[in-house]
């Protein structure tokens, strides 16, 4: 056998290096973040419960029975017991996930569309657009959030879509500001100028050059935004200005438990624990997403 040169050694399979895309690198960093993986599993279960609620829930959310105030474990047919009108608590929890999912995803989708469209317009075209939008954002920003959500809910009445409207109306300015700041930061960069000089259209530049640069901060914001919307919905329902009866909502379950705290405490503990687990899951996940997508953030670089 001929002498092995260094170059040959490098060519062996264990020494060939595959170059990874930034996304693959980010994914690798995310996988190493243990708490983020825990968060991911929790979110996965939450999404599964929410999407497949009609299939996996043992009873319809509004089916009542004479078995009222059954504590968890008292009846094998109702693992988590029943509530004050005899509805299966496990089914209510699962359908509550469905409600949370619909509300948070709808509000998030609205905020994304509005944020991207208006934020891009304000940042890119500037001038009158920017001025008018900034004034509107100032006005919405000066509205005390929870107070206005309650006011709007009182006007519209309880209901799934009304909750979405009430939360969305007060949540979009932050997303416009985020997109606008990113557009302003990138619009005068050389590669933008070059693209424009080569005759690229505005929509091409927006999609091909601007959007990829907005994507990372946007993904980080989403992973912290969704749990915020879940809490907002649960909070409004808890205050009696949210989801209408008999639709299930974790906040409403907690509110109706308030009258029975001393005798049937499980009614409050179950929804509270579920909300807390989901929210903690989202914040671990969001922390992992930020560390993975923003390598400059402190924990990823160790400094």
């Amino acid at each position: 056998m001929a002498t092995q040169t260094y170059a040959d050694k490098l060519a062996t399979p264990e020494h060939t290096y595959k170059s990874l895309t930034p996304f693959q690198l980010a994914f690798r960093r995310f996988r190493k973040h243990k708490l983020a993986m825990v968060g991911f599993v929790i979110i996965f279960i939450f999404f599964f419960m929410g999407i497949f609620a009609p299939v996996i829930s043992p009873y319809p959310y509004d089916k009542t029975s004479i078995k009222v105030f059954y504590e968890p474990g008292k009846d094998p047919a109702h693992i988590l017991g029943t509530d004050n009108v005899g509805r299966d608590y496990l089914s209510r929890v699962i359908w509550g996930a469905n409600t949370s999912l619909i509300v948070s995803m709808s509000v998030q989708a609205f905020c994304l569309v509005v944020g991207l469209a208006l934020g891009f317009m304000a940042g890119w075209f500037g001038g009158v657009w920017d001025y008018v939008l900034s004034r509107i954002i100032e006005v919405v920003g000066a509205m005390p959030g929870l107070m206005f959500q309650i006011l709007i809910m009182t006007l519209l009445g309880n209901g799934l879509w009304n909750v979405i409207i009430a939360i969305a109306i007060l949540s979009w300015p932050g997303w416009v500001r985020l997109v606008r700041a990113q557009v302003l930061a990138y619009r005068t960069r050389d590669f933008m100028e070059a693209s424009r000089a080569l005759g690229a259209s505005t929509s091409f530049i927006a999609w091909r050059h601007m959007f990829p640069n907005i994507l990372n901060p946007l993904l980080i914001a989403i992973s912290f935004g969704v749990p915020g919307f879940i809490v907002a919905e649960a909070g409004l329902s808890f205050l009696g200005r949210g989801i209408n009866d008999p639709v299930a909502s974790w906040g409403k379950m907690l509110a109706s438990a308030g009258d029975y705290v001393s005798s049937y405490i499980y009614m409050g503990i179950i929804p509270t624990v579920i909300i807390i687990i989901v929210i903690i899951g989202f914040s671990f996940f969001g922390d992992g997403v930020r560390d993975a997508l923003d390598p400059q953030s402190d924990r990823a670089t160790g400094g």
Binding site: L35, R135, E138, V139, G141, A142, M143, P144, L146, M147, F148, I150, L151, I152, T154, L155, P227, V231, A234, G235, F238, L239, G251, L254, A257, V261, S262, I265, G268, I269, T272, I275, I276, I279, I280, F282, S283, F284, D287, S297, D298, R299, G302, G303
Partner: protein, 309 residues
């Protein structure tokens, strides 16, 4: 600076006028009015009289304009539910919200900054890991869920605090401790996270190394050189927190039955008490807008590199 403040002042007037108009419009369009009694409906003429007394028979923009003209002169109207001037009600309820808020601020700010600095100095150790996880969890937990757990454990199970709050008693340690802890908890978490990342930023700067190299003690470098530059992230979070505290927390006041502004705002909405709702929203919006202005001015004072635009 003077020119800048003048422009901002006009912006502030515009914002307050618009917010008040939207609030008034929302209230006015909400079905049901303050004198729509379902149990004892008023006679036609009597109702017309009472509506006239409170000016409710006029078009809503006239009502709004009259209200604003009076509000600027310090008259926030008479509460429909209590039949007393809103100003007096505020003087009665606001101190309770303020007491709660100031006490929460008094413990949460030092604690948040201290544990944030500790986490930064001990970065990537068990202590840092514990503090960052604690901060992440406390800053994201929904207040109403924490309140429920606190009440279930301390009021129902251990029976060490009264369940009924401080409606009928003077606030003492027993009724204050849980609300103050829970109200401040979110601040501790987010402040610790801001402080930690701000501190790490500053500690990586060249002038810190220079200061150490010229022989300054570590403690001097941290407290004199690093902490001063930490003020910007602290201001970023300090003023919004103050706003929160001034306008009262609806969840905490509701959960712990505290007669504060947040709780009475909610009760006023249920009762369609227009003057109360308007006054609360106006005051909260004013505090919010002034806070934004103060934050921007504070930035320039703390960091001369930041210019007012």
């Amino acid at each position: 600076m003077a020119r800048y403040l003048l422009v901002r002042f006009f912006g502030f007037i515009f914002v307050i006028v618009t917010v008040s108009f939207i609030t008034f419009f929302l209230m006015w369009s909400t079905p049901g009015g303050p004198f729509d009694e379902s149990k004892m409906p008023l006679e036609g003429a009597a109702k017309a009289n009472i509506l006239k007394k409170y000016g409710l028979d006029q078009p809503f923009y006239v009502q709004w304009f009259k209200y604003m003209v009076n509000a600027v002169q310090g008259d926030f109207g008479t509460s429909f539910q209590y039949q007393t001037p809103v100003k007096d009600l505020f003087l009665k309820f606001w101190p309770n919200s303020l007491l709660l808020g100031v006490l929460s601020l008094a413990w949460s700010f030092p604690v948040g900054i201290i544990i944030g600095v500790i986490a930064a100095l001990k970065r990537n150790t068990v202590i840092d890991y514990f503090i960052t996880t604690f901060a992440l969890v406390t800053s994201s937990l929904p207040q109403f869920a924490v309140i429920f757990f606190a009440l279930a454990i301390f009021a129902v199970w251990l029976k060490v605090v009264p369940y009924g709050g401080w409606i009928d008693r003077t606030p003492d340690l027993k009724v204050l401790i849980l609300p103050v802890l829970i109200f401040g908890m979110g601040t501790v978490g987010s402040l610790a996270r801001y402080t930690r990342s701000g501190m790490l930023d500053v500690l990586g700067q060249d002038y810190i190394r220079t200061a150490r190299a010229k022989g300054a003690k570590r403690s001097v470098v941290i407290f004199k050189h690093a902490m001063r530059n930490m003020l910007v992230p602290i201001v970023t979070i300090f003023l919004p927190t103050v706003t929160n505290i001034l306008s009262g927390s609806i969840y905490v006041e509701l959960g712990f039955v505290i007669p504060g502004v947040g709780r009475f705002f909610l009760l006023s909405i249920f009762a369609r008490d227009y003057p109360m709702i308007m006054a609360t929203v106006l005051i909260a919006a004013t505090i919010l807008s002034v806070t934004y202005l103060l934050t921007d001015v504070a930035y320039t004072l703390l960091d001369p590199r930041i210019r007012l635009a």
